[in-house]
């Protein structure tokens, strides 16, 4: 009774005030959560830049163009790393994209309803395999196959192309690309599948009404509609591939060099950091590794922003158009 009286005794203005207070509190809390993430990212960049300072001061822009990585004389240049990162990621993409597109089309357009869910789930399970386990598998299963089967076949028949001319160690850019492909297929597949499912059914129905075959529906109506989203998915995969560390470190061969051959051992930025950070003994050495990390972060951020923008253009289509 007392409570009731107290509550009912409050004025309308007080009640609104109280509500406004709660609203304000809720909104601030949510803003704080959202901004915290941005702050973490900003802190990361600031901290990386701070750690990289000695190297930035010492090498300037020469760091980006330098090709020497000599810890003894403390001369560091990141070009072989940037090159290796991009090359390995592109090889990975080249292998992963056709597989992903095929799988996604199957899941979105062709798969019977009962298979769609379990198949999607299984593909996403691949994404959950720890990187180091894929790396071990790569080192002990994939690399021998590459060395004994893939490299002889490619080298003997296509050895005149510099891409396939080189020592047949097994480890190298090709193996790294294959491992990366396995690692990015799940994400690329999942995003492309969602993009395809977001294509309005009216598109398909219109094509079917014109007497088109299944193939024509997919190639003429669905894929053109989903194109920008698919490109976004691929770039998202690229972003992932560039940052991948452990598995790549184990199979890429870890050599600092710029070479056209896919058989040669190279380094990516991430693999170089993973390999060398623990025993980097001097200030400049550490700074150089941190600066490499900063470069990787900037590249990854750019790639991801582009990917999000491209995926975003399609996802914004109202879902009511579909069904």
């Amino acid at each position: 009774m007392l409570n009731f009286k107290l509550v009912s005794g409050r004025t309308a203005a007080g009640r609104t005030n109280r509500l406004a207070m709660g609203d304000w509190f809720f909104r601030s809390a949510m803003y704080a959560c959202g901004l915290a993430l941005l702050a973490v990212t900003a802190l990361l960049v600031v901290e990386l830049a701070r750690g990289a300072r000695p190297s930035i001061v010492e090498f300037g822009f020469g760091f980006l163009g330098g090709t020497t990585w000599d810890p003894v004389r403390e001369i560091f240049g990141a070009l072989p790393l940037v090159y290796g990162t991009i090359l390995a990621s592109l090889v990975g993409l080249l292998i992963a994209v056709p597989v992903s597109i095929g799988t996604a089309i199957f899941l979105a357009e062709l798969s019977p309803q009962w298979l769609r869910r379990p198949a999607s789930a299984l593909i996403e399970v691949i994404a959950a395999i720890p990187s180091v386990i894929l790396g071990l598998w790569g080192l002990f299963v994939l690399v021998p196959i590459v060395r004994e089967v893939v490299q002889p076949v490619l080298g003997d028949n296509l050895g005149f192309i510099p891409l396939f001319d080189g020592p047949r160690f097994g480890v190298g850019v090709l193996s790294a690309g294959l491992i990366l492909a396995i690692m990015i297929v799940p994400i690329v597949t999942a995003v492309i599948r969602d993009v395809l499912l977001a294509v309005p059914n009216s598109q398909r129905e219109a094509m079917l009404a014109l007497g088109a075959t299944r193939w024509e529906v997919i190639s003429e109506a669905v894929i053109p509609y989903a194109r920008s989203g698919m490109v976004g998915a691929i770039i998202l995969g690229l972003g992932r591939a560039m940052g991948e560390t452990m598995a790549v470190t184990m199979v890429i061969g870890n050599g600092f060099q710029i070479t056209p051959s896919l058989f040669e051992p190279t380094h990516t930025i991430a693999s170089a950091i993973a390999s060398e950070f623990a025993e980097a003994t001097t200030e400049l050495y550490i700074a150089a590794l941190i600066e490499a990390a900063l470069i990787l972060m900037v590249i990854s951020l750019l790639v991801n922003i582009i990917a999000r923008l491209l995926v975003g253009t399609l996802v914004r289509i109202p879902s009511t158009v579909r069904e």
Binding site: W69, V72, T249, N254
Partner: protein, 401 residues
């Protein structure tokens, strides 16, 4: 009748009870006598024990280590250290044994030599550990942070040259320093190169490419290996040089000893290097190396210990024992060091550290062989003793009786 029966019963019971008591009494006396005998032994043996305690010969008393108490009187019961991964198995064993003996918790993080040097320079740990000696710049930084810093060798290790060559058994391949350097420089690319053939009469070497495998991560193993190549090859010295990681002119990199060993095992025609313990435990084929006095030596613990026996160990212990002149020495050997400030700011930590290290270079050495580490040679052990005696806690020696 009832009463008598009861008495009778209790009588029987009492007799049984007495019997049991008698048995117990006999056992107790026997135990007491045995205990007395033990006491007698201890009392008779302890004078001789203390008598020899001042010499470095191990005494029967486990609480005395070469004249000093095993556990630090008034020392802290926790220590923190960080650094080299190479001696980690041995350090872990020491920490476990020492904790049982003295209840001192030593927290050692094997984050790599570079990390160890950083942490001791920042004084976040009581001791650092490194497979390489400090460079001048590193030493200056450490001295600026905490005064004179000391290298104390704890154990030594060797780097085995491992290979995968069809038809050539372990120990069959013989190499010398300049040839090994040429292989790693990329100047020798075939197994049947004249230089290798000349060292291996009677061994059929195939006309196959040499696949050079090296460490991709910075490591003490690389430090010792590259240091050896620098000593035996001017081209290597003016080229890659030596450090925990170097700019490799050729070959592929693999992470860790296990990575290099894995590559060499998989890749026909490959050559690599791994720490001796790893090569032994995994039955890898390893080469005999020609040492400075011209003898071919198989990497063994004895040959590793011998590497430090032929050379004069300076008081500061900053010495690389690769390419030892001792005829029995394996040439690619090196110490691993503990790094500590001579002047210990926290006296109780300093005492604990000094007594722990003292124990490690004496009793601790007995665990080395089992774990494939080479115990310190007598000269090196003496130098390490002198280093530990120099540790200062508040103006007095940290190591106290």
């Amino acid at each position: 009748m009832q009463l008598r029966g009861f008495n009778l019963l209790t009588g029987v019971k009492r007799r049984a009870w007495l019997l049991r008591l008698a048995v117990l009494a006999v056992m107790a006396v026997a135990l007491f006598l045995a205990a007395c005998e033990d006491d007698d032994e201890e009392t008779t043996s302890s004078p001789t024990g203390t008598g020899t305690a001042s010499s470095p010969v191990a005494t029967d008393d486990p609480n005395v280590v070469a004249g000093y108490p095993r556990c630090a009187p008034g020392g802290s019961n926790s220590l923190a250290g960080a650094g080299a991964t190479f001696p980690n198995p041995l350090y872990t064993k020491w920490i476990d044994e020492y904790k049982r003996a003295c209840n001192v918790e030593v927290n050692y993080q094997s984050i790599g030599s570079g990390g160890g040097i950083r942490q001791i320079t920042e004084k976040t740990v009581n001791f650092g550990a490194s497979d390489g000696v400090l460079t001048d710049a590193q030493e200056q930084a450490a001295v600026a942070a905490g005064g004179s810093i000391m290298h104390i060798a704890m154990t030594s290790g060797a780097v085995a040259v491992i290979y995968n060559l069809q038809g050539v058994q372990s120990g069959q391949l013989k190499l010398d320093g300049p040839t090994l350097a040429d292989i790693y420089l990329g100047n020798i690319t075939k197994w049947n190169d004249a230089k290798i053939v000349a060292l291996n009469p009677g061994v059929s070497l195939p006309n196959a490419d040499i696949a050079v495998v090296h460490r991709s991560d910075g490591s003490g193993t690389t430090f010792i290996f590259a240091n050896y190549l620098s000593k035996v090859s001017p081209a290597w010295q003016s080229g890659p040089g030596f450090a925990t990681s170097v700019q490799w002119p050729t070959g592929l990199g693999a992470a860790g000893n296990e990575g290099v060993a894995g590559q060499v095992r998989q890749l026909p025609g490959s050559i690599g290097y791994a720490e001796l313990a790893y090569a032994h435990q995994n039955n890898l084929a390893f080469a005999q190396m020609k040492n400075k006095s011209g003898a071919y030596v198989t990497p063994t613990l004895e040959a590793t210990t011998a590497a430090a026996a032929g050379v004069t160990i300076p008081a500061h212990m900053k010495i690389l024992i690769t390419d030892s002149s001792n005829a029995a020495a394996y040439p690619i050997s090196g110490f691993t060091w503990i790094l500590a400030y001579q002047n210990q700011e926290d006296a109780s930590k300093g005492k604990a550290l000094a007594h722990y290290l003292w124990w490690a270079i004496h009793n601790g050495q007995s665990f080395a062989t089992d774990l494939d580490y080479a115990p310190l040679a007598p000269d090196a052990a003496k130098a390490a003793e002198n280093q530990i005696l120099k540790l200062q806690c508040g103006g007095a020696a940290c190591l106290t009786k």
